[in-house]
């Protein structure tokens, strides 16, 4: 078999490295860091699966929670509900706000500066502060009580800057020539935005939405003070309900069902993976 002359063999590479020790050190360093990254993730997931899978049982998916079955199904349903509600508020708002910033606002516009400042500040605030605000405003001032709705609204505010920022980046990376070309053919602004600018930006926007889903699904601090910790399927949007992450927190806190908490962790992991796969699939469908 012939060897391609442009690809170096292991031996040749080693000889190269002998001449340049600095690049050898660099090679080892980056390899090591890559290994640490992969291993820590593999270890974490492996440990969780090892602890969690033996504890998964049909009981965990019972319709009603009691201290015997420690069912996670109500929390699962709450997680999906709250994610859906929060995204249906923050998704369109964030995306349209970004469209305003990128496509409509003029340079040096005061509103733009204000939005940049607030979105930057908001994305750096610890989530417990959102929880406090949510409790004072939605729970107390609007008198919604601890409720799924209050929790979803709080989380919507929390992920709004994230969605807006990523959409802004996605829109900015669409070449100006696309807009110029479309305007040059006599298309109006609405058509340019929806037919020319948004389609290539969809993958970027979706990656922002995925990040937002991750934050919502993993959120505990702000939900405890807004959605409460009742482990039942809520009767309405105004009843309290815990999400999976809050459920895990509660199980750990009580200290009685640690094994079940691991099992819940596995379910949470599966859900997050499934959501990522789904959105990747949607992104591919949409951009084709």
């Amino acid at each position: 078999m012939k060897n391609p002359i442009n690809q170096s063999t292991f031996k040749r590479r080693m000889r190269e490295y002998q001449k340049r020790p600095a690049s050898f050190v660099m090679f080892i360093l980056v390899m090591l860091c890559a290994c640490v990254t992969v291993l820590s993730f593999v270890f974490l997931v492996g440990y969780l699966l090892y602890k969690g899978i033996p504890n998964i049982s049909w009981d965990l998916f019972a319709l009603n929670y009691n201290s015997e079955n420690v069912s996670l199904l109500p929390s699962l349903i709450n997680t999906v509900t709250i994610t859906f509600l929060a995204l249906s508020v923050s998704g369109p708002t964030g995306i349209f706000a970004a469209i305003y910033l990128v496509e409509y606002a003029k340079k040096g516009n005061k509103l733009v500066k204000l939005m940049d400042l607030t979105s930057e500040t908001l994305s750096g605030i610890p989530s417990i502060v959102y929880g406090l605000f949510g409790m004072l405003f939605f729970v107390v001032a609007l008198d919604w009580g601890f409720s799924v709705l209050a929790g979803a609204c709080t989380l919507a505010i929390m992920v709004l800057p994230l969605i807006m920022r990523t959409t802004q980046e996605a829109l900015r990376s669409v070449p100006a020539e696309f807009r110029e070309g479309a305007f040059g053919l006599g298309a109006d602004k609405v058509r340019v935005i929806f037919k020319i600018v948004l389609p290539p930006a969809v993958p970027g926007i979706l990656s922002g939405v995925i990040l937002a889903v991750g934050r919502i699904v993993g959120e505990t601090a702000s939900l405890i003070y807004t959605a409460g910790t009742v482990a039942e399927i809520p009767e309405s949007l105004f009843s309290s309900g815990r999400t999976l992450a809050v459920h895990m927190y509660a199980l750990f806190n009580e200290g009685l069902y640690i094994e079940k908490a691991y099992a819940t962790g596995v379910v949470l992991l599966v859900i997050v993976c499934a959501m990522n796969l789904l959105s990747n699939y949607v992104a591919k469908k949409l951009t084709r």
Binding site: P175, L185, A187, I196
Partner: protein
């Protein structure tokens, strides 16, 4: 016959004056070439003809521009204007979609929905841009996967698909090899029969090869405007002579 008539056209970008009071009459069914050094206002002038300057922030236009006697800056539907006055840009960049959808974007914008009508327009436009035979079996491929010269001709076909009366071309061959350039020039010569064409070029041989009239721009002013043959053989102005003989620019 006169297509465009411009009176005392002045353009500013912020404090910078890009065009300094230009009067010009652009004839119909001829090729008019704009030559001159970079940054002398050729593209700015071109973009005044289909109001693309409206989209540039801080750009102010003064004076009067008429198309077939109608003032295009006074209460004129800008989308209709851009349908009548098509443009091919310097950087050939088709939209991120199939060739077919690229060409059909313009007609669809102006309300043509029927599949058979669109098919016909796509074939006709691509044929006019001498691209049909190369791509007829690949109409569903992403337009961005084609070569630079092909992309430029896709952009020309895209502009032709809305059936404009005037075609503005901003250095359409500056990024292309000689063979693609030759093809584009053939296309332009062919189009002259039906369209009025205004072309900005840095290539003086190109201006000589294809244009009927030439305008020489310098620092925001038109130094000389006339028949291409005359301008290149017996230039009236000393600066024109210096530029076309390559002594500056």
């Amino acid at each position: 016959m006169i297509k465009f008539e411009l009176k005392d056209l002045e353009v500013f970008y912020g404090d910078f004056q890009a065009l300094k009071g230009i009067d010009m009459k652009i004839p119909a069914n001829e090729i008019t070439a704009f030559i001159g050094p970079s940054g002398c206002g050729k593209t700015t002038f071109l973009k005044c003809l289909n109001r693309m300057n409206d989209l540039v922030e801080g750009c102010r236009v003064y004076g009067q521009v008429t198309l077939d006697g109608e003032d295009i800056y006074n209460d004129y539907d800008v989308n209709l204007l851009r349908k009548r006055v098509g443009m091919v840009f310097q950087k050939p960049l088709p939209f991120k979609m199939s060739i077919y959808d690229n060409i059909a974007f313009g007609p669809r914008t102006h309300g043509i929905r029927s599949k058979s009508a669109l098919d016909e327009i796509v074939e006709q436009s691509l044929t006019q841009a001498t691209l049909w035979d190369e791509v007829k079996d690949r109409l569903n491929m992403d337009a961005l996967s084609f070569s630079g010269g092909q992309q430029q001709r896709i952009c020309i076909a895209r502009a032709l698909a809305v059936r404009p009366e005037v075609l503005l071309m901003d250095e359409p061959t500056s990024a292309l090899d000689p063979i693609s350039t030759g093809k584009i020039e053939e296309v332009v010569m062919e189009l002259k029969k039906k369209y009025s064409i205004v072309i900005v070029t840095h290539n003086m041989q190109q201006a000589v090869r294809i244009s009927d009239k030439t305008a020489f721009f310098l620092l925001g002013e038109v130094i000389e405007f006339g028949d291409t043959e005359k301008l290149f053989s017996v230039p009236k102005d000393k600066r024109t002579e210096e530029y076309i003989t390559g002594r500056f620019g």
